[in-house]
Amino acid sequence: MFGRNTFKGGIHPKGNKSISQDLSIKDMPLAAEIVIPLSQHAGAPAEPLVKKGDKVLRGQKIGEAKGFISACIHSSTSGEVTDVKNYPHPLGRNVISVFIKPDGEDKWACLPSGEDLEKISKEDIISRIKEAGIVGLGGAAFPTHVKLSPPKGSKIDTLIINAVECEPYLTADYRLMLEETEKVILGTRIFLKALGIERAVIAVESNKPKAIQKLSSLIGKDKQIELMVMETKYPQGSEKQLIEALTKREVPIGKLPLDVGVVVQNVGTACASVDAVIGGRPLIDRVLTVTGSNVKQPSNLRVRLGTKFSDVISFCGGTFEDPKKVIMGGPMMGIAVPGIEVPVIKGTSGILLLKNSEVSFEEPGPCIRCGKCVDVCPMGLAPGRFVEYGETKDLDSALEDSIMNCMECGSCSFSCPARRPMVHWIKLVKSQIAKQKK
């Protein structure tokens, strides 16, 4: 059933993982102020459950999921709510956020004691994951319970645990695989049970031999779980590319993985789901990588959600030079945040600080039609054309050339010798198309 270990197209950027890959996960201490945005996931923002002056406990729900595609939000420490108001969000806009002044006691809200997976029903797993506010920790932050509740009639037969971590620099998933290997396997079993299926594939990139060794020895003779070593290439961890490589099923344009019988979950999400389902612990912190040439002490940290980037950077010894650009996530799909006072959210897989000379803006030149963007596009598009369509506002032609198929992996812009900002234009044209539809 399983054939290839890679996809067509893609690029080979410098991995730069050695900066942080051998550093164990440390706990980031509690900061002086915690700011928790009520929108940290794909879908509708959560509704606030607390108001100014309320006392909250660690792990207490402070935001209720609103609608099917949404996620609950919890307090990451105990203390007092000092305000509920708009605050800058890593994605650039202002979002309703809960301000908490920690009391330093870190007192937990009551937690159900550990249970055996055998005794937890399928429905309980999903409701516990939902209550714990678990979302995809790979970056897109899609609510996990939604992915585990496929609509009636869809035939899911395969679970893929995405442990590829193809973004350069990031090593958070890698450290989890090494340090919490048991959780990765247990999390996989939890997902299998929730989906009621019997086949899982854990996909790891070939540049992580230690993790591969540890995972395969723990999987042992488990017949349900298989380990697949993927070629080291970006964007190997892209959902559709991974599915196609592992199952030879191509997710049709505009469809979802479940339409071809597959559910993909990130390896960090699997670990968080173990905490939620077995330990009753909601998602209040996450492991992230602080890395790059401009940070004094690169680290893999477990950080409470709502901790400001500035506190995390200070904890890592600060920067060598005043940063002009700070990236949330990796260098390929990461988001340049508006300022360092933004909080860590569920989707913060890393904080990347590059020397200013490495992120300097280069003036784009004319397209010389070298075709490199076409060669590298994993979705089989001709990305260069979308710049033209954007400039001439030709939305129809953009649609005809399947612009909606673009996942914005950035391989085209990365490879472009004329430094044409293709992803920039593609995002713009997509948003114009969305507006036009309304």
Binding site: K255, A336, E362, I368, V374
Partner: protein, 318 residues
């Protein structure tokens, strides 16, 4: 623990990705230039100082006309991106070293202005600028463009004293006037940069190794000439080594701007170039067909691109 500045300072919010590959338009032009060096040295060796002079005049013509055009039309952006230099050398490579220098200058200017700038500059031209220059000079001064120096005489500094036929002249009628080794090394008559297959091959391999070009166009071009020549009863090895096939296949047909952007398109383009080259050589009025073959194929690139795009992921193929 060091405190970093606390004020909510606005940072640069550019769209991802935040890193780039090392290759830039300039580095590509530089690599093409480097790749042309072996053939240039061969030209100097076989055709002497006169070859150097032709290259220099062509460079002056191309660069001056590009700058002048940009100034006159008040274009923004950098005056030179390296592409004019590449065009200049390529144009010089496809004329005989004895061509009067004013014709060289004229052809270089025409190549840049008519071949490139009037279309909107780099990236927008339909035809290979160097070949446009060559075609115009060929039509204007056919006599001068088809008078070939004997190299050894040139090397000794005796200009215009002896002329000799190019290896291609006899191809139509089955007269093979040069040995394979002379053809391979370049010890034959011809345009100044086209004679040494070895030097061009070295440059071509360099471009492939540096990932500037992919082998698909050169291989399909040369391969088609080889196969079609033998079908038409011509010596296939002689056919690919003589004339401008290597120069055209590695340096002209691979010009990004004027060739298709996807693999299948490039394959069709390369085969088309090879096919037309052989047809012109066999049935046309000129002994050589590389120039017009590439120019013709340049013209239908938009058509090729339209039907040979990559397969879109997830698009139904039932």
């Amino acid at each position: 623990m060091e405190q970093i500045s606390k004020e909510n300072k606005l940072l640069a919010m550019t769209i991802s990705p935040h890193i780039y590959d090392r290759q830039t338009t300039r580095s590509i032009m530089r690599d093409v230039f480097i790749a042309l060096v072996p053939a240039m040295l061969a030209a100097f060796y076989f055709f002497g100082m006169r070859a150097l002079l032709v290259v220099l005049v062509s460079l002056v013509g191309c660069i001056l006309s590009e700058i002048a055009f940009k100034k006159l039309t008040k274009q923004k952006g950098p005056l030179l991106d390296g592409s004019a230099g590449v065009t200049a050398v390529l144009f010089a490579f496809c004329v005989p070293s004895t061509l009067p220098l004013y014709m060289v200058f004229f052809g270089a200017c025409v190549g840049i202005i008519v071949g490139k700038m009037v279309f909107g500059g780099l990236g927008y031209n339909i035809f290979n600028p160097a070949l446009v220059g060559r075609a115009v000079v060929m039509a204007s001064w056919t006599q001068s463009m088809t008078t070939w120096p004997a190299q050894n005489a040139m090397f000794l500094g005796i200009y215009d004293a002896v002329t000799r036929a190019t290896p291609l002249a006899g191809l139509k009628i089955g007269q093979y006037t040069a040995g394979y080794m002379d053809l391979f090394l370049g010890n034959v008559g011809g345009s100044l940069g086209e004679t040494s297959a070895l030097a061009l091959l070295l440059g071509g391999v360099y471009l492939i190794l540096r990932k500037v070009i992919k082998p698909v166009i050169p291989l399909s071009f040369i391969g088609t000439v080889f196969v079609m020549s033998s079908l038409f009863g011509m010596d296939p090895l002689y056919s690919i080594l003589a004339g401008g096939v290597f120069l055209g296949a590695f340096f002209m047909a691979t010009d990004y701007v004027t060739s298709p952007i996807a693999f299948r398109g490039r394959l069709i383009f390369g085969i088309g170039c090879g096919l037309l080259t052989v047809l012109i050589r066999k049935f046309g009025g000129y002994p050589e067909g590389v120039c017009y073959a590439i120019l013709f194929m340049n013209g239908i690139v938009p058509l090729i691109d339209k039907y040979t795009g990559p397969k879109v992921f997830g698009r139904a193929t039932k």
